[in-house]
């Protein structure tokens, strides 16, 4: 060493400045920023424009039309009762179970964690159809074998507002469970122990310390559930239409199905729904920001002694078993049962002796099912890969650089969280019907755009979480070692991000295969995906084939979810 290279730098020449401006780093960043902006903003802009502008002037005509035809109050009330009802149900079940599992000595804890995977494994549409088999007044086995004998002939009608609330609430409960488990676990036990040491009895500690500490998480869960229920399409469409209970989502779908479709009305209804969900997401993000000062997480791996339930252990055990049967066993068993029948009828001794694999053969030998499976897999792989690559760079920009306006990229990437799938579908429909020169409508690419947009927030969350875990110095040391941006990104940042990127990739693969609510607006006949095929089979009454396809899909999702959770042990799979 010792001698220094005798190179004298001349001041930067003009071409040098250009070269620097057009560096790999800036070009790639630019592409990502433009992509995020395009995906998040353009559909909403078209939605606004198409809804409020008619023949070059601003109008609210479509709102008048939309609301006069069906009556604003009835539908809006239904939507709100449905959302609030299923939230109350999901929050009560989920929070109670989470407390029992985390803080008490109740047995069968692993059963509950298995049950919490249900919404990931059973797509909403299959869950809803399973509940039709279970609780429809005519053929529902719960009605036939449990409720009618008990009540003397009356039955639980799943095609009603209470029925819808029950099915949606059950579908959302595991999500509440996971959120509240995280919150109860992250609570510093010394906060409660110091209350005990101050002389407070257990129930006072619960009321004055535990509940207030869990409150931010509880509010957050409530907001998420309300938004989810407002966005829900499967339950309102499959159960509500049958019973004449309209909500925003089913109404939007209906006006687009009319001949000719009323795009303006769909836009007006979408805007109204969007306002409601945006309020929810906005409140949630405010809450998240505020509760950061409320953080109860400590690094200590110490667990407090679980509360001894004593006599109450038995009712608690029963509760968990009953929940497991209702949420997991019944829907799965009825689905498998239905997949073994030639024609669907409720199980009797006769039908149980005539099981066959014919429906599976029908599905495997049908071209349309194979095409749908291929489309679903290609779309899932394509969108998961694209999103994770884009978001790896976006997360780097947001976390690492001091680019002006990087907060905007962050917010834009999360913006689609506030947009219900159906509303996004309507927005994209407007974009690709009106945008000249771009022919995505009637192709599978429009679904690709929809999935990119819908799942961008999840990709961003996975990518930023892992990015925060990578010390800045790991990158800086690559730079002082002589690596340029591209090399340090490829050889240091990407490999270190990989576990998080893979977990996000699998998650997006799982959810995009089951996507229904934007797909239903955007798909074109002949280019179905799996969820649409199930929808169509249900319309055509091909229940055994539907159940067979559904069972196979559930099997594939079990494999994927297992892999995701194996990875998730290291990286954390959040929020189904």
């Amino acid at each position: 060493m010792a001698t220094t290279p005798a190179v004298v730098r001349t001041p930067i020449a003009r071409s040098d400045a250009w070269r620097r401006l057009l560096s790999a780093r800036n070009l790639i960043s630019l592409v990502v920023v433009v992509a995020v902006f395009y995906l998040a903003v353009v559909p909403l802009a078209f939605l606004l424009w198409q809804t409020f502008v008619q023949d070059g002037s601003v109008t609210v005509e479509w709102f008048r039309e939309a609301y006069s035809s069906i009556g604003l109050t009835g539908m809006a009330m239904n939507s709100i009762v449905f959302a609030v009802g299923s939230t109350v149900l999901a929050i009560s079940i989920g929070t109670l179970l989470a407390y029992l599992i985390v803080r008490t000595d109740v047995p069968f804890k692993s059963l509950m964690f298995a049950a919490s995977l249900v919404p990931l494994i059973i797509p909403g549409i299959l869950h809803t159809i399973a509940w039709i088999f279970l609780a429809s007044p005519q053929i529902g086995i719960v009605n036939l074998h449990v409720i009618q004998p008990l009540t003397g002939g009356r039955s639980l009608n799943v095609f009603s507002l209470p029925g819808m609330i029950l099915v949606e609430g059950l579908h959302l409960a595991p999500l509440v469970f996971l959120l509240m488990v995280a919150s109860f676990r992250s609570m510093d036990p010394s906060l409660e122990e110091s209350a005990v040491m101050s002389g407070a009895p257990l129930h006072t500690v619960f009321r004055r310390i535990t509940i207030p500490l869990a409150r931010p998480a509880l509010y957050a869960a409530i907001l998420i559930m309300v938004v989810r229920a407002l966005e829900s399409f499967e339950v309102p469409a499959l159960l509500g239409l049958n019973g004449g209970v309209w909500v925003f989502t089913s109404r939007i779908w209906q006006v687009l199905k009319d001949k000719p479709p009323s795009y303006g009305e769909a836009g007006a209804l979408s805007m109204s729904l969007l306002v409601l969900t945006s309020i929810g997401i906005y409140l949630h993000s405010r809450l998240a920001k505020r509760s950061r000062s409320f953080q109860t997480v400590t690094g200590k791996g110490f667990r407090p002694r679980p509360v001894q339930l004593g006599f109450w252990r038995w009712p608690a055990t029963l509760l968990i078993l009953v929940y497991f049967v209702i949420a997991v066993v019944l829907p799965l068993v009825i689905l498998v049962y239905a997949s073994t029948q030639k024609f669907y009828s409720p199980p009797t001794r006769a039908t149980l002796s005539q099981m066959s694999l014919q429906p599976y053969r029908d599905v495997i030998h049908s071209d349309i099912a194979l095409t749908a499976a291929k489309n679903s897999i290609l779309l899932g792989l394509g969108s998961a890969t694209t999103i994770m690559l884009l978001m790896a760079v976006a997360a780097w920009i947001v976390v690492r650089t001091n680019l002006t306006g990087r907060w905007l990229i962050d917010n834009l990437a999360f913006l689609p969280l506030a947009v219900p799938g159906l509303v996004l579908g309507v927005g994209l429909l407007f974009v690709y019907l009106r945008l000249p020169g771009v022919h995505l409508y009637n192709t599978i690419w429009i679904l690709f755009m929809a999935y990119l947009t819908r799942y961008m927030p999840y990709g961003m969350r996975y990518a930023t979480t892992s990015m925060f875990q990578i010390g800045r110095e790991l990158e800086e040391s690559a730079m002082t070692s002589g690596a340029g941006w591209f090399q340090s990104f490829r050889r240091i940042v990407l490999p270190l991000l990989m576990p998080g990127l893979v977990a996000g990739w699998i998650y997006i693969l799982i959810v995009s295969v089951r996507e229904l609510s934007s797909t239903i607006i955007l798909y074109s006949p002949g280019k179905e995906v799996l969820s649409i095929l199930i929808w169509e089979m249900n319309q055509n009454g091909e229940f055994p084939q539907l159940a067979a396809l559904g069972t196979m899909m559930v099997g594939a999702l079990v494999v994927l979810v297992t892999i995701a959770y194996k990875l998730g042990a290291r990286i954390g799979v959040r929020e189904a």
Partner: protein, 371 residues
């Protein structure tokens, strides 16, 4: 070797602060000589790490000039800004920043592998150079080990090897020992110094630990609030601190306010509230000027009994004592103030004993008042 001229670096103030900008480095100029280990020493937030990061190219200064040899890395005037990856300096980070997804060999090979194709050594040369460097830091037997399986001290050596493999003209070390436990830190201190001297590397070393700075450096720059307070050899900054801050930060000092009463050659007579001190100093002070005398506790002798009063001979009473193992500290009240003394552990006087303090001349340094 390394020349820094009028370096300024400011950051946006965090919200709620009165100032718009916070100046982390304010007009710092310094020169590091070939083969020297130069330390930037100061409390946290004094700008030492920011200065180092400006040299590395990880921060972009507002103004000033940085040059290593005759290569200008940064100059606001001439609009030169060489990116960190093209400076060819070696840096050891406080957290070591060992890449967890590579093994030991790969970590060290990385700087060679990312060189431009024209300059990149052949695979065989890379192998040789990495092995040689790992040999220097005594990690050659662990080359295929996963980097995360190393102990703290080994990771430290690995970080060092990665910075050395390029044979950089200048090494930058950002508190490299602060994550080690006390025993290991002592060992590594000597090890690091030996390596630096044997390899003849010029190094800039950042630390907040004065013991480390004194033990390792050829020269030390003491920094405070973005400015350099004093530059000198360890002995100079310890024995002749230029300001109260330096005297206070390096070692322990008793600060005694007073004013110059008389001067005989280079010996000043200082009158204080509690007695007279005769203080030798090279600095120029006018008679009557207010001064602060900094007195090192280890050069103040303590004896039981009152032996009469005179210049550098004060009476007091022991208030407290603390047994620290190798030494014993006494706190002695003299008039209105308390003087701390440090002596070997044989001397131990219980409170409240009347004692005589003898100030030896090497205890003193004379500092202008108000700093």
């Amino acid at each position: 070797m390394l020349n820094i001229t009028s370096l300024v670096k400011s950051f946006d103030a965090s919200r709620g602060e009165k100032r718009k900008r916070v100046f982390a480095v304010e007009d710092v100029s310094l020169e590091v000589k070939e083969g020297e280990l130069f330390t930037l020493l100061g409390p946290s937030g004094c700008g030492k790490t920011t200065s180092l990061r400006c040299i590395a190219g990880l921060e972009s200064p507002d103004s000033g000039e940085i040059a290593v040899g005759d290569r200008v890395f940064f100059s606001s005037e001439r609009n030169i800004r060489v990116p960190a990856s093209e400076r060819g300096l070696g840096m050891v980070f406080q957290s070591y920043a060992i890449w967890p997804h590579m093994n030991v060999f790969k970590n060290v090979a990385f700087p060679l592998e990312v060189l431009r194709r024209r300059k990149r050594p052949s695979r065989k040369q890379i192998q040789e150079r990495v092995e040689r460097t790992l040999g220097i830091v005594q990690l050659d037997h662990l080359a295929s080990r996963q980097a995360t399986d190393l102990s703290g001290g080994q990771q430290q050596r690995l970080a060092l090897a990665r910075a050395l493999v390029m044979e950089p003209p200048l090494m930058l070390l950002d508190e490299p020992l602060s994550n080690l436990d006390a025993k290991l830190r002592d060992e590594m201190r000597f090890e690091l110094k030996r390596l630096q001297r044997e390899l003849g590397v010029t190094a800039v070393y950042v630390t907040h630990d004065q013991v480390e700075a004194l033990a390792m450096s050829n020269r030390v720059a003491v920094m405070r609030e973005g400015k350099i307070e004093q530059v000198g050899t360890p002995r100079e900054v310890y024995e002749q601190p230029a300001s109260r801050f330096v005297a206070d930060f390096i070692g322990t000092s008793n600060f005694i306010d007073g004013s110059i009463e008389a001067r005989e050659g280079s010996v000043y007579t200082v009158r204080t509230q509690d007695g007279v001190l005769r203080v030798p100093s090279e600095a120029e002070f006018a008679v009557g000027a207010p001064v602060v005398v900094a007195a090192r506790p280890e050069h103040i002798e303590i004896k039981p009994g009152e032996d009469g009063v005179g210049p550098n001979l004060w009476n007091g009473r022991v208030e407290a004592r603390a047994f620290l193992g190798e030494v014993v500290d006494h706190v002695v009240s003299v008039g209105s103030r308390e003087i701390r003394t440090r002596c070997n552990s044989k001397v131990s006087i219980p409170a409240p004993t009347a004692v005589t303090l003898t100030f030896h001349e090497e205890a003193f340094s004379l500092i202008p008042a108000g700093e």
